[in-house]
């Protein structure tokens, strides 16, 4: 990497709203190649809206978004598809296709975008499932037969199906028990290093922010009010940031970590 890290997602003066008051109001954010960026903010602060706007599910009112150097709004159909091929998205509830098995879910994007033989597709899909910690036998299960943690893993494998450069994770550890959440953090970290991913992650989980994020962006009042490594967050004077990183739960976490293992 040469000195200044490359900016892979560039958001400038973004305004997004539904009806009246804008949810995002003049938001700017840069995501650098190869980092894990954690996005935090109160409920309803527009984290998911930001993510969905960046990936083009919600139209923006003003501003500019550039992903991998391309503005999806002004790019042609071809260029858009090329960009979509280079990112993967883990939706909050997995969003697995319920009529397909886990393996078919992982194969789905490959089938859409790649011209590879059935055998190779199925082998790589199985490899992906194993890389996220599932067994080949799990691949034949339907989403309704999977537990919450397994659903997230399959969804992650599907997000990684095309070896993307960016993965968007919408609350990857929500709904998981602390042990599974910890495992999932480690998994994301490992995959990020192995595959050289850039990770854009919405989370509420202080533990995962501390464990894996390189930088944290805090969203409040429709803007990014603080951005930087998680250690610098405590220094912020913004009231929400202060409460979040120095509040009761954060203190409890500190105490828990400070306690000697008995």
């Amino acid at each position: 990497m040469d000195g200044v890290p490359e900016t892979i997602i560039r958001v400038r003066d973004l305004v997004v709203g539904f009806g009246g008051r804008p949810v995002l109001d003049g938001l700017s954010l840069d995501v650098r190649r190869g980092e894990i960026l954690g996005l935090v903010g109160g409920s309803g602060s527009g984290k998911s809206v930001l993510l969905r706007t960046v990936i083009g599910l919600i139209p923006k009112r003003q501003g500019a978004i550039e992903v991998l150097g391309v503005d999806p709004d002004h790019a042609g159909e071809e260029a858009r598809r090329a960009i979509e091929r280079r990112w993967g998205i883990l939706f909050q509830h997995g969003a697995l296709f319920s009529s397909l098995t886990a393996r078919e879910n992982v194969e789905f994007p490959m089938r859409e975008y790649l011209d590879v033989s059935d055998r190779l597709r199925s082998e790589v899909a199985t490899a992906k499932l194993e890389m996220v910690g599932l067994t080949p036998a799990d691949g034949d299960k339907l989403p309704s037969q999977l537990s919450g943690g397994m659903t997230k893993r399959v969804a992650l494998a599907r997000a990684l199906a095309l070896d993307p450069e960016i993965v968007f994770l919408d609350e990857p550890t929500s709904g998981l028990d602390p042990i599974s959440a910890g495992d999932f953090d480690v998994l994301i970290r490992t995959l990020q290093q192995t595959l050289g991913l850039t990770v854009f992650m919405i989370t509420h989980d202080l533990d995962s922010l501390h464990a894996i994020s390189n930088r944290v962006a805090v969203l409040a009042e429709g803007k990014v009010v603080a951005i930087g490594p998680v250690a610098t967050m405590a220094a912020s004077e913004h009231p929400w940031v202060k409460t979040y990183f120095r509040g009761k739960r954060a203190r409890l976490r500190e105490e828990r970590l400070a306690q000697p293992v008995s």
Binding site: L114, D115, L120, S122, S144, T194
Partner: protein, 378 residues
């Protein structure tokens, strides 16, 4: 890209030396796979293989798996194989892929259709028989809940009942009127057309009157209600089941049958006879209109003839059937709704099953009633 650059093979001292280069990624996967699988025949006498990946400048899971496949194929034949020269940043990916242990897909055991076809038929028959159990189960539960409600009328959910009456009764009126009106008209037109050939036009009134009041009115309305309201009951209860609302209700000490199903079934049982009555009237009206416009029979004659042709018996035969058909539709719809499992697919499947099954049962029931009324001379 030149295939030679992707994978180049040569033999050095009895060793097969492959040099890989360019981008070993998903986009090139098809070409790469052909090259990799083409290796099998080459230099089969070489004792060992070395895959030199120094020239690879882009690498992903697909490339890693194909490299691994070369190595595994070679090792499977009892020879040595190794990968050398892969850039440091790609090594962990290769190691990850090497850890995955993929067994060759075993082709599903060939089924003998001589065995499998009868087996499937047998299973369907058994399943058909078993399908009847949840129906009886639900019938019992609804009757029990109705009994409890009779003893303590305060248990009845009035708000819910009125809401469902509005939905399955009042809101269904326009479409029921329209359809039965058209059916009545069509029956009259067909009757006039064919009866005219032997000068029996006037008996069209008998046919329309008896057919509509005894059979067609109630049957058409029941089928429409099964499609319209039965399906929506199944879908509603099914999505409640999916979102664990039914379980929540149960944990709060309320019986889902009492709270959700009884008001729905009662609403249907009340609404269907009313709709049948309205539908039959609309069909007679349609028949009369066609007889007038197409058959040249004035309304006075039609009504006078109708009075002679039909009796209260015909009317009550139709009306008696209506609540029973409503009960069947309601019970089937609700029991199918509660059989929905987690997935959206299952919801769609149960909704279809609910409609098909209730229409089938409505027709069977109609046949049973026909035999019954014939036996008691009604």
């Amino acid at each position: 890209m030149d295939p030679e650059r992707l994978l180049h093979s040569g033999i050095v001292d009895g060793r097969l030396v492959l040099s890989a280069g360019g981008s070993w990624t998903a986009i090139r996967a098809r070409e790469l796979e052909l090259l990799v699988d083409g290796l099998g025949g080459k230099a089969s006498d070489a004792a060992s293989l070395s895959l030199d990946m120094r020239g690879v400048d882009a690498f992903d899971t697909f490339g890693a798996w194909l490299a691994e496949r070369i190595v595994r194929d070679w090792r499977a034949r009892g020879r040595e194989a190794q990968i050398v020269g892969l850039a440091e940043r790609y090594r962990s990916l290769l190691q990850d892929v090497q850890r995955t242990n993929i067994k060759a897909e075993e082709g599903a055991a060939k089924e003998n259709w001589l065995v499998s076809v009868p087996e499937r038929i047998g299973r369907s028959v058994v399943a058909l028989g078993r399908d009847f159990v949840p129906f009886l189960d639900m019938l019992g539960a609804v009757v029990a809940a109705a009994g409890r409600t009779l003893l303590r009328p305060r248990l009845l959910r009035m708000t819910s009942l009125v809401h469902h009456l509005d939905r399955v009764g009042w809101q269904a009126v326009p479409i029921v009127l329209l359809i039965t009106f058209l059916i009545g008209g069509i029956i009259a037109q067909q009757g006039i057309f064919h009866f005219r050939k032997f000068g029996a036009d006037v008996y069209v009134v008998d046919m329309v009157g008896i057919l509509v009041l005894r059979e067609i009115g109630v049957l058409i309305v029941a089928i429409m209600v099964a499609g319209r309201s039965g399906s929506s009951y199944t879908a509603e209860l099914g999505s409640m089941k999916m979102r664990e609302e039914i379980d929540a209700l149960r944990t709060m000490g309320r019986d889902p049958v009492e709270v959700l199903i009884l008001p729905r079934v009662i609403a249907l049982v009340v609404a269907l006879p009313i709709l049948t009555f309205l539908g039959s009237m609309a069909a007679l009206y349609g028949g009369g209109l066609v007889a007038w416009a197409y058959g040249g029979m004035s309304p006075d004659i039609f009504i006078a003839r109708l009075k002679e042709a039909i009796s209260l018996t015909h009317f009550s035969v139709g009306m008696i059937k209506a609540p029973f058909m409503a009960l069947v539709i309601g019970i089937v719809a609700c029991s199918e709704g509660l059989r929905v499992k987690g997935s959206a697919e299952s919801l769609g499947l149960q909704t279809t099953t609910s409609v098909v099954k209730s229409i089938f049962l409505v027709i069977v029931l109609d046949g049973v009633f026909a035999m019954f009324f014939a036996a008691i001379d009604m």
